[in-house]
């Protein structure tokens, strides 16, 4: 098993930074999800780790050994491609045995190794088929089997579930997680689906525009996003971000509501804040609808999600169906058994533990000072 370390690793294609210098350590046995929107450099990062792409800057270490200039075949890694890359002209068995044959392994041992992974992934009935005749899920299983069979130091997966149906993704997600737990293999998993990253990752690396935005556990990136991008990107819908002005322990939110800041935050906000503008961030579940709530708005839309209702609330207090730039719509979670009429007024409070503040200038989260 292996520990992977990236030190100031960067990639430039011509004049374009695909990945700006990044530091990242992936510990032995860890499952790290690389998350970000399309084109942010996730695949490029993964390909640099694998050795399929040369770095422009920086060094890569696997188990403390500098592998920056080693070829892919010398790094002892397995790569699972988005479209599986199963060799169409070979049977499933030949596909799975292929990585072993490169090592000149004995036939008996190859058969035994193949039998092991075949059992692990329950694909015994597919062995004589050719990949084009398989369903998406089966192709995925075979691709996983092919990567597992060599017992590599680490697994690199590039959106391995991207080509599957929604229904099947969930099954395979559980399967990959199960395999990871069973093998305890260091895994780097690229995805643009934050649900997948949250569900699977021990840690998540959030990337955007070729830069690492935050590295943290799913709970950290969800509850303590490092900046506005992460706050908005993680969660569906993302964190509510309402601009306002900080005036004497209160924030005058856009739309007219006045939000009294939680006492714990006051020293930080008062001491650090030279200017008065601030962005208040809160998750939908941080809001509590109440008659006496400090923030008020008008119900703009309401979606029933089974166990709860998601209210879309316009803080401007009036309905602007076409929503122009002035309007501020927030999402809040409400009880499912209360019917909220569209256009009616709602008031809500925020759980003081779950409120976050951001600097509109730097777009970074404001860290709460802990006075000892």
């Amino acid at each position: 098993m292996a520990e992977i370390e990236l030190r100031q690793v960067a990639k430039k294609f011509g004049d374009l930074w695909a990945v700006k210098p990044m530091d990242l350590t992936i510990y032995d046995g860890e499952f790290v999800a690389l998350l970000g929107p399309s084109g942010c450099g996730k695949t490029t990062t993964l390909r640099m780790i694998s050795g399929l792409e040369a770095v422009t800057e920086g060094r890569i270490f696997i188990n403390g050994k500098d592998v920056t200039w080693l070829s892919a075949s010398q790094r002892d890694i397995a790569f699972v491609f988005q479209f599986f890359a199963l060799y169409p002209q070979m049977t499933v068995r030949q596909n799975i045995a292929f990585p072993l044959e490169s090592q000149g392994m004995k036939r008996a041992e190859i058969n035994q190794r193949v039998a092991e992974v075949v059992k692990l992934l329950e694909i015994g009935h597919l062995l004589q088929r050719k990949p084009p005749a398989l369903s998406g899920g089966d192709k995925q299983r075979v691709a996983l089997a092919r990567s597992l069979v060599r017992k590599p130091a680490c697994f690199l997966m590039d959106e391995p579930l991207g080509a599957l149906d929604a229904e099947f993704r969930e099954v395979m997600r559980a399967e990959i997680k199960r395999l990871h737990l069973a093998q305890h293999a260091t895994t780097v998993y690229v995805t643009h689906d934050q649900v997948e990253a949250m569900a699977m990752g021990d840690r998540i690396v959030v990337m955007s525009a070729a830069e690492v935005q935050q590295i943290g556990t799913p709970a950290q990136v969800y509850h303590d996003p490092a900046n506005l991008f992460v706050a908005n990107f993680i969660g569906s819908p993302g964190m509510n971000l309402v601009p306002g002005k900080y005036v004497g322990d209160e924030v005058h939110l856009r739309g007219g509501s006045v939000y009294p800041t939680p006492p714990a935050w006051r020293p930080t906000l008062a001491a650090r804040w030279q200017r008065d503008d601030v962005i208040v961030g809160f998750r939908p579940e941080a809001a509590q609808v109440s008659e006496t709530g400090a923030i008020r708005g008008m119900v703009y839309a309401s979606d029933l999600h089974g166990s709860y209702t998601m209210l879309h609330v316009s803080l401007n207090g009036e309905l602007r169906p076409n929503g122009n730039g002035e309007d501020t719509i927030v999402h809040i979670r409400a009880r499912r058994d209360v019917h909220y009429v569209i256009g009616s007024l709602v008031r809500f409070d925020l759980n003081p533990e779950m409120v976050r503040f951001f600097d509109p200038e730097s777009e970074k989260a404001i860290a709460k000072e802990v006075r000892g």
């Binding site: 892919a72 397995a78 890359a85 060799y87 169409p88 292929f98 060599r150």
Partner: protein
Amino acid sequence: MASTRVEHAFSRVGPGFAVVESVRVDQITPRARLGITARLILSIIIAFVMLIPVLWMAMTAFKARPDATASPPKVIFVPSLDGFIGLFTNRTQLSAAALAEQQQRTDLNFWERQTLARGMRILGPSKFVSQLSNSLIIAISSTILAVTLGLLSAYAFSRYDIPGKRDWLFFILSTRMLPAVVVTIPIFLMYRAVGLYDTHVGMILLYTVFNLSFSVWLLKGFIDEIPIEYEEAALVDGYSRLQAFRKIVLPQCVTGIAATAVFCLIFAWNEYAFALMLTSEKARTAPPAIPANLGIGGIEWHVIAAGSMLFLIPVVIVTFALRQYLLRGVTFGAIRQ
């Protein structure tokens, strides 16, 4: 009413009938049906017109000399192997005495008896046999070379960032832009100077170079279509670039290789202008040799036809055997499988 008219014209299609096969409405209106029928008939007529010369050639090949030149042309005739005998043998006209002597012999084979019936005796095989084998050697060797070299450079062009890649590709293509006749004279002079005139090596080299541009472009189209992930997977799995090429790319572009080989083979097999100018005795190929079958008493049309027909057969067989690859070949691999 429109609907009844459709029902009337196509009794099994339309509302109220089970859908046996899916049909687009615009394909089953009477007009469309008429159009389809007209096009079909037209294609058959065109195909027939195109095939008449081939048919005529095949017929002439089996005619005896008087039938071949008869005017008006004979459509019904007694088949004869004169043409083929003329093609493959050198003969001599026998005097009356010699003829009588020969006719006494009982050890003559089928061909000799056929010749004897025309008052002639076979002296030995003609040059056509060696010319045909020259054609085979030169066409096959140059095809193998052009496809092998083309495959390697097409792979490089497809997978690597070669400086000035587009210019190189255009340059390679541009070698095909000059008509052959323009370059035959300089090549003739050069070949004579370096001793490649009338040699197999010279002709193989020439056809290889000529086919290479085509082969590079065609194969690049096929290799471009193979996702690079296959090779990358092999690289990660511990194979070298060359092994990945051999085990992964090669099996996946057999279609392209077959299509390219057919086109190269047909070109090299049929080539006339260079062969006429650059060969004489040793390396002469069949195309310039066939029309040179001028007999003593005028053009031996039945011999020429027999030669042309034999010459056509290998191309027909190869084309027929690999026909499913040819369509992808002419579209530069652009059709999805």
